[in-house]
């Protein structure tokens, strides 16, 4: 236990005093504050004249400011933040030859990788919390609207889900750092995985669906419909394996109480659109969570699995100092 605590404390100290973190935090802070300010003033103009605007506070995070909303920003750049914090976790120690020294001390070997991961997660939580609070403050100043309990609850859930999501990428970066000797290779490997999951997963999902449950032409009406449904279900199942789509779907429902389904408006049929236009009331937090529960569970499972693989690889490696 003392080993874990000593490493955790040192890693946290290192992170907070490193130039890398200061730069990263400053950049994210600037982008967040600027976008929040512009969103805030934009909302103020739009909502002028409306008698009782409700659930306005959350709109601060979801409505598109100049270029993007905060939620979109985190969904897209979150992985990069995780990667930057983790890509040299083990390779840095290896190249400075401190890893063998660390492992010669009477500490449990897994304390090293556990402490590094937890220090990264702690850092992420503090960073996100700080940014959320600052944007909320900015929102209070520009909008003059105080969030109610429901909105605060949604923001808390959003914070937790975001930390789990970026934690996945942190675990992935640490895994690449364990597997590859040089820092550059591990950074590139994580980057490549991010690009694949971000841009090519949609194609990959359609391809997998075509292979696993193809829709053959020339079938009768009923069989055709069934085949199409199965194709769509497979496609959706495969796309659920990507943490990026899991995260963006679940947070879009959590942050927008008016959103009752994860499907985009374009793909809905006429009946659904009618029901959507009729029932305009907002969902409670519990109801929203029920909708995205499978997504959240999958996201947590993926993060845990990623860290487990990283743990196993680190424990089985042989460490030489030469």
């Amino acid at each position: 236990m003392h080993g874990f605590r000593a490493i955790y404390r040192k890693e946290l100290e290192d992170h907070f005093s490193s130039t890398r973190f200061v730069l990263l935090f400053t950049v994210i802070l600037m982008i967040s504050l600027i976008s929040a300010y512009m969103t805030g003033t934009g909302l103020r103009r739009e909502l002028e004249g409306i008698a009782k605007p409700s659930l306005v506070f959350l709109m601060l995070f979801t409505s598109t400011g100049a270029l993007f909303s905060l939620a979109q920003f985190v969904a897209f750049f979150g992985p990069l933040i995780g990667m930057i914090l983790g890509f040299d976790a083990i390779s840095r120690e290896r190249s400075a030859r401190t890893l063998s020294k660390l492992l010669s001390q009477p500490i449990y070997r897994d304390a090293v990788v556990n402490a590094k991961f937890l220090a990264g997660v702690t850092l992420l939580s503090i960073m996100f919390l700080a940014i959320l609070l600052l944007i909320s403050g900015m929102g209070l100043l520009t909008l003059g609207v105080v969030p109610d309990l429901e909105e605060i609850g949604r923001l808390a859930v959003y914070l937790i889900v975001s930390v789990v999501y970026v934690g996945f990428w942190l675990g992935l970066a640490i895994l690449c750092s364990v597997l590859f000797r040089s820092m550059a290779t591990s950074a590139l490997a994580t980057l490549a995985l991010w690009i694949f999951l971000a841009f090519f997963m949609a194609l990959g999902a359609s391809l997998a669906a075509d292979i696993l449950s193809p829709v053959r032409p020339g079938l009768s009406g009923d069989a055709q419909a069934e085949a199409t449904i199965r194709h769509e279900e497979t496609r959706q199942f495969v796309s659920m394996l990507s943490p990026i789509s899991l995260y963006s779907e679940s947070t879009s429902v959590v942050l927008d109480p008016l959103r009752k389904t994860t499907r985009s408006l374009v793909l809905m049929g006429p009946m659904e659109r009618i029901s959507l236009s009729r029932f305009q009331s907002a969902l409670s937090l519990q109801q929203s969570l029920l909708i995205v529960a499978p997504y959240l569970v999958s996201l947590v499972a993926l993060t845990v699995l990623c860290f487990a693989i990283c743990y196993i690889c680190f424990m089985r490696q042989e460490v030489r100092s030469t």
Partner: protein
């Protein structure tokens, strides 16, 4: 006197390559043991197995009565290791590095500053303790490495090329330090080096490894008498070693 290091029939194979071939060795408490051999003979692999950083393919390893592969924590509490190129956290000061190692060894937080100063004083670095290790010379880094090893008050110390790259003054100080650890503090010192005249100066016994096998072990003069015959002069370790090496090396090497 008890045996602190016991290797019995230890073999280590990496795939089809045998790095260590049926090694049997015993080292007593308080001994200064010199471990010699050409590069690639299996010296570092043996030391890794003794530290528990690597598992033998077959055979048994015991350090202070513990099996390093099965009971690594107990072994690491009493064993210190100074590798050939010792690494430090260059952006921290020497005192901070030592304090970190102290914490990792479970030394209570209140006792750490005093212990750090004690160790630095013992190796003669107390004046430079506030400097960043990145600014240290090689000799200073080696001495800091010894200070780090001594933080946990070990019973056995493994040193890999402790005097390599040191200036003459640093070498003399380092060798004196190693001798005092063995004689005054009763620590067992197991060190490997290519600088045979230095090994001769301070070792009680030596062991020579060639291609994974231990070809000779014992006090230097005994080995000299065995290999080169009884003579009136003192044999140098270099002569003895080269005789073993030439006999053991494969044709054309």
């Amino acid at each position: 006197m008890s045996m602190v290091i016991e290797l019995r029939d230890v073999t280590k194979q990496y795939g089809s390559q045998t790095a260590v071939n049926r090694l049997s060795l015993e080292v007593r408490q308080g001994e200064i043991f010199g471990f010699l051999g050409p590069n690639g003979a299996g010296k570092t692999t043996t030391i890794l197995m003794l530290l528990g950083l690597s598992e033998p393919t077959s055979g048994s390893v015991q350090v202070c009565g513990f099996n390093p592969a099965r009971e690594p924590l107990q072994v690491k509490r009493v064993v210190g290791y100074l590798p050939e190129n010792v690494g430090f956290y260059d952006d921290m000061t020497a005192a901070q590095n030592l304090a970190y190692v102290g914490r990792l060894n479970g030394i209570p937080e209140a006792a750490i500053p005093r212990r750090v100063d004690e160790m630095l004083d013992q190796v003669g670095l107390l004046g430079e303790s506030r400097k960043r290790v990145g600014a240290y010379s090689r000799g200073m880094r080696q001495r800091l490495g010894i200070a780090e090893v001594l933080m946990k008050d070990p019973k056995v110390i493994f040193l890999d090329e402790p005097t390599l790259g040191l200036d003459p003054d640093g070498t003399v100080k380092m060798l004196a330090l190693i001798q005092s650890l063995g004689r005054d503090k009763g620590m067992t010192v197991f060190f490997s080096s290519h600088l045979l005249d230095q090994v001769q100066r301070i070792s009680d016994r030596v062991g020579i490894m060639l291609q994974g096998k231990l070809v000779a072990v014992g006090p230097i003069q005994e080995l000299g008498t065995q290999k080169l015959g009884v003579g009136t002069q003192q044999y140098t370790l270099e002569e003895i070693y080269m005789r073993y090496f030439r006999e053991g090396a494969p044709a054309g090497a």
